[in-house]
């Protein structure tokens, strides 16, 4: 062989050396102690797209991390992978809201479209890898898919190609609209506000943003374009607010890029008369020639649309989300003008820790993470423990599929959460804080980091805060993908660089927590209510809510409801009010069947109990829990057995594996549910299921295990007849694929649309004749049902049996 310089450089040894150099740089940056293993692996994966063994060998050589710890930790967290992924990663959300809207079919559709083999997750050309993720926290847009950092909402199996095309288009002209707006010259004529959260962007706000920028340029008007915090009305986006200099705000929900120009012209005068004239003509042409504009003007009046959104916002009460819709998440001056950090300054000026704790105690606020433990008592316990070091942790490891409150609070109100955390730290005497945020929320991590920097610059964080002599700083820790880490002792283990194994309490973290020091762990939402309590006083706070549950609760409203989104309501609001008034009723005019609260730890509350007032105690009584606040609305067409199995499957995958009842017991429950949804179960299996569920509830070691049977127990309690029907081979909703088959009725005109759309070639192409589905080949993806214009394809029972003897 001849000498070739390039070949030499690319020899395996060279490549290995280069990789080691890159790994070394990461180790130098992140550290070498055992507790930095998770950030270290995250950095390595970010650099190489997976965890290459050569890089890991470098870690063994240069750090205190050994092989046992590496295997233990890297295999525990779902974020880490040992094999390289394709260039782009497609994450299909299988959270509750997405599940009930058919996420699994979407996953299958992507695999088919990209021709990914059954046992593989990556395309042959290494372009795409695909995975299911627990929840992307965009439940109102279900089913949701994320490709790299782009989020796509309402993805139906038939739209998969479209989504991929759109993504490829995006890659080609990767110019992003995100970032700071730079205003051109001239006086500012007003403000246009748009939500720029990930979920908003996914539903077209990014395009609207572009349109606003473009229109302003074309019209020569100078308005401030301001990205704002989440309004919560996820069902009405893209949504813009136009604020005129006189303070008037007009809200435009569901707008399209084509309408932007018209709206702006309505509010602002273009630069010159000539330009104005030209624009008026151009605009008229636009209006008449794009059917999209016609569509909206003709069929929904502006008033109509605004009304809808007003009913969504009525009945809500803002504490955690105070200033929604006009606060820029990352404008610290604006936040301060709005009353931000007043509470902190008040607390520091008074300089009396006990007063702060007393105020929080008096407010009666209970932890929003799920358990509902009185926050003031927790603070008292930590404050009472003398120690040279104490920690405050903000628990942002919101892992419930079907919940996205914490994500929105972190992304939209980062400064409020930080303020609450600093006050908490002062009250308990902590000097170090940790933000634990799950890695699936990259935007939240970025915003919190930025917000922390701003606070440091303003002297609100760091040494000697506001000259009070109190010092406190906060770092960010990114969770690596484990639901159990929402449990406080598991969360601590994970920060310490261990598997997320919970440990038995006592000792409570308040006594011995992070690095064995007294530690206060509060949920994001809890901390976001603190500044209000201090600023307005506990007396004002207790006016909101019910006797046992004070204040407001933020819910993520999703599932089969017309207007999903993030809502904040006073404790004591009924579920029916939430579903009917705020949520605008059930999708497609169906009847309400149940509301699932509290995610995998919660339960299903049947429609007849939905008039009960929602607070911690009422929900517990009904066999559900408040949880962190996911509300998934289920309609007549939701199968309760399928929902129960869905949650149990989730907890069995997320179980840490430490104790017998959770590790094996939940698996055995799942075995029975698998038999139920495939029509193989017997009546006595229901009793066994119940026995196992009750035993696990009593005997599992931690909160995850103890609450895991709730979805099954509550559905058994309220919908036992449905379980019995499944024993007899009937699933009335058609959700359990083994019990139904697709059939084409006599309404078929032979248009061949179904045959052409069928991805598994289960329908023979027979023009002008009634088509027939080959049940063996059919995967029940439902594409043909969507395609059929004559409503001629129906799900029918396939295995109904005569009721077995009881």
């Amino acid at each position: 062989m001849t000498d070739c310089k390039d070949c030499k450089l690319n020899s395996p040894e060279e490549a290995k050396l280069a990789m080691e150099r890159r790994a070394d740089a990461i180790i130098d940056r992140v550290g070498t102690s055992r507790d930095v293993i998770i950030p270290l692996l995250q950095a390595i994966q970010q650099e190489f797209n997976y965890l290459p063994s050569d890089a890991l060998n470098r870690v063994y050589e240069r750090t205190d991390i050994d092989r046992a710890q590496m295997i233990s930790v890297s295999s525990f967290y779902s974020q880490f992978r040992m094999v390289p992924y394709g260039k782009h990663t497609i994450k299909v959300c299988v959270g509750t809201a997405c599940h009930v809207k058919g996420a699994n079919n979407v996953y299958d559709a992507f695999k088919r479209e990209l021709a990914i083999a059954d046992d593989s997750i990556t395309t042959d050309d290494q372009q795409y890898s695909i995975e299911k993720v627990a929840c992307l926290g965009c439940c109102a847009l279900a089913p949701v898919v994320q490709i790299d950092n782009n989020i796509y909402g309402h993805v139906q199996p038939g739209k998969v190609r479209e989504v991929l095309d759109e993504f490829e288009e995006f890659c080609k002209n990767a110019s992003q609209a995100d970032g700071d707006d730079d205003n051109s010259n001239g006086p500012v004529q007003g403000e246009v506000r748009l939500g720029m959260e990930n979920c908003c962007k996914a539903s077209g706000t990014a395009e609207v943003y572009d349109a606003v920028v473009e229109a302003c340029k074309a019209l020569g008007i100078n308005v401030k374009i301001k990205p704002i915090s989440c309004v919560g009305a996820c069902n009405q986006v893209p949504l813009i607010d136009v604020a005129s200099p006189d303070g008037n705000i007009v809200r435009y929900p569901n707008i399209k890029p084509q309408e932007v120009k018209e709206i702006l012209l309505h509010h602002f005068k273009p630069a010159s008369r000539l330009r104005r004239l030209r624009n008026a003509i151009l605009n008229q042409i636009d209006t008449f020639h794009t059917d999209q504009t016609w569509d909206n003007i003709l069929f929904t009046s502006e008033k109509d649309r605004t009304q809808k959104i007003n009913s969504f916002l009525k009945g809500q009460y803002r504490i955690s989300t105070e200033g929604f819709g006009h606060l820029n998440p990352l404008d610290i001056d604006e936040y301060i003008n709005f009353g931000g950090f007043e509470a902190l300054k008040k607390v520091l000026a008074e300089n009396n820790r006990q007063n702060v704790i007393d105020e929080v105690l008096k407010s009666g606020i209970r932890g929003r993470g799920g358990g509902g433990f009185p926050t003031g008592r927790k603070w008292q316990m930590v404050a009472a423990n003398a120690s040279d070091a104490k920690y405050v942790i903000c628990n942002g490891d919101e892992g419930d599929p079907g919940a996205f409150m914490d994500r929105i609070l972190l992304e939209s109100y980062p400064l409020r959460v930080i303020e609450g955390m600093i006050i908490a730290a002062f009250a308990v005497g902590a000097s170090e804080g940790v933000f634990y945020i799950r890695a699936e929320y990259p935007q939240a991590v970025i915003r919190i980091r930025k917000a922390l920097d701003m606070c440091r610059q303003k002297g609100l964080l760091g040494n000697n805060i506001c000259d009070s002599g109190f010092s406190f700083d906060i770092r960010v820790f990114e969770g690596a993908g484990a639901f159990v880490c929402g449990e406080e002792t598991a969360l601590i283990a994970s920060i310490e660089g261990k598997r997320g194994f919970p440990h038995l309490r006592p000792p409570y973290p308040a006594q011995s927590g992070l690095f064995d020091k007294p530690t206060l762990i509060n949920n994001v939402e809890t901390l976001s209510q603190i500044s209000y309590i201090i600023r307005k006083g506990a007396d004002e706070y207790v006016k909101v809510g019910t006797e046992g549950s004070r204040g407001t609760k933020v819910f993520a409203l999703a599932g089969k409801v017309n207007h999903g989104g993030l809502i904040e309501v006073p404790m004591g609001t009924t579920l029916r009010q939430i579903v009917e008034e705020i949520g605008g009723g059930i999708e497609g005019g169906e009847a309400l069947k149940a509301v699932q609260t509290g995610g995998p730890s919660g339960g299903c509350i049947p429609a007849e109990l939905c008039d009960a007032e929602v607070d911690f105690d009422a929900l517990n009584k009904m066999g559900a829990i408040m949880g962190s606040g996911g509300l998934v609305v289920l309609s007549e067409s939701s199968c309760m057995v399928d929902v129960a199995r869905y949650f149990l499957n989730f907890t069995s995958e997320e179980s840490c594996g430490k104790c017998t009842f959770c590790r094996v017991g939940i698996r055995r429950m799942l075995d029975i549910l698998d038999k139920l949804v495939t029509g193989k179960a017997k009546m006595e299996d229901l009793d066994r299921l119940e026995e196992l569920a009750n035993s696990i509830k009593k005997s599992a070691l931690c909160g995850l295990g103890k609450t895991a049977p709730n979805p099954v127990l509550s559905t058994l309690r309220y919908f036992r007849n449905e379980y019995e029907e499944h024993v007899n081979g009937i699933c009335r909703t058609g959700s359990c694929k083994h019990m139904v088959k697709l059939e084409i009725t006599d309404d078929c005109v032979g248009c061949t649309k179904c045959a052409r759309s069928c991805p598994s070639e289960a329908i023979e192409y027979t023009p002008y004749k009634k088509h027939v589905i080959n049940t063996d080949a059919c995967t029940q993806c439902g594409l043909c049902i969507d395609e059929c214009d004559y409503d001629a394809i129906k799900k029918t029972p396939s295995m109904e049996r005569t009721p077995s003897k009881l």
Partner: protein, 320 residues
């Protein structure tokens, strides 16, 4: 301090975990994942007692008594929950306590043990063990219908081991020395015996390849059954056939050589973690939930001590 046990107030030191206090008083509390002299974390839940205050079951191995604590230690409910925890563990424990051939032998020969000696070339031991049960000059195998060969698990893979023939071959040894050899089998009806279930097709292929010694015996009997606490607990709880069918993702009979005479068989492991917590860069957990396994990285094998087998509550870690 005073605590209430089964409605009786008892004084305890408060310095030791509940299980130690209870055992000292005379209660027989079973446990698997607990070892007084080793690092441990609550896992098996076999030692649970009920906290009367909230009706919750708590592991007595990891709970320290507190003043005024009220517990129930042997109520019907507690016993049935303990029983369930054992049954759940057994449903993820793919192993035979005793070999089928030994169980069915009408002449009470521990055929499995004899075959083990035979395959290891320990002919004197094989001969001595056989001759301790039967008259080698007039061996009953000659006229036996050989239920052992019908029960042989090898038969479900390819062809059962020719047990009778091997027994006769050993019996006819001329120059065998008498040595100390004894059977470990415990076939009493009162003693629990775990049953393996069926091999998967993949396992059959794998077993065929790995177990290719002279006799082709799969050595079904568990080599750690003497010290097995799981078997002991199941026996005490009077479990005959566990309620939950065995389903495990562990490969059956996979025996990993760790170091010297120490072997590790994952299919018998109950994931209690004693070996993990008590070795430095040695045994470790992998994955999570039902798929969680205990593994030993190749490069870490040198870091473990043979003595670790003593704290394993099952036959998963054993000395050959």
């Amino acid at each position: 301090m005073n605590i209430t046990i089964n409605n009786k107030t008892v004084e305890v030191s408060g310095q030791k975990p509940l299980i130690e206090e209870l055992r000292q008083i005379g209660y027989d509390i079973p446990s698997l994942c607990y070892d007084a002299n080793a690092k441990h974390q609550a896992s098996c839940m076999v030692c649970m007692v009920m906290n009367v205050a909230n009706g919750q079951m708590i592991p007595s191995c990891s709970t320290f008594p507190t003043e005024g604590m009220q517990i129930e230690v042997d109520s019907e409910e507690v016993l049935s929950m303990r029983r369930m925890s054992i049954e759940l563990l057994l449903s993820d424990h793919r192993a035979d306590c005793e070999a089928p051939c030994t169980i069915v032998c009408p002449s009470k020969i521990d055929a499995a043990q004899v075959l083990l000696h035979y395959d290891r070339g320990q002919m004197n031991e094989a001969f001595s063990l056989l001759s301790s049960v039967v008259d080698v000059n007039n061996i009953p195998c000659a006229d036996c219908k050989a239920p052992c060969e019908k029960a042989c698990r090898r038969g479900t893979i390819d062809k059962g081991v020719s047990i009778r023939q091997i027994m006769m071959e050993i019996a006819s040894m001329k120059d065998a020395k008498s040595v100390d050899a004894h059977s470990q089998a415990n076939l009493s009806k009162d003693v629990f015996a775990s049953k393996l279930g069926r091999y998967t097709d993949a396992e059959k292929e794998w077993l065929k390849e790995v177990y290719s010694q002279p006799s082709k015996c799969l050595h079904c009997a568990c080599e750690g059954r003497d010290k097995c606490k799981l078997r002991e607990c199941a026996t005490k709880a009077q479990i005959k056939s566990p309620r939950y069918g065995v389903s495990s993702r562990q490969v059956v009979k996979e025996q990993i050589h760790v170091k010297d005479n120490l072997y590790f068989e994952p299919a018998k492991c109950i994931r209690c973690g004693l070996c993990v917590y008590n070795s430095q860069d040695g045994f470790t957990f992998k994955h999570r939930g039902f798929d969680m396994q205990v593994v030993i990285p190749e490069d870490s094998k040198k870091n473990v001590d043979e003595k670790i087998a003593d704290i394993c509550p099952t036959g998963a870690l054993f000395i050959q």
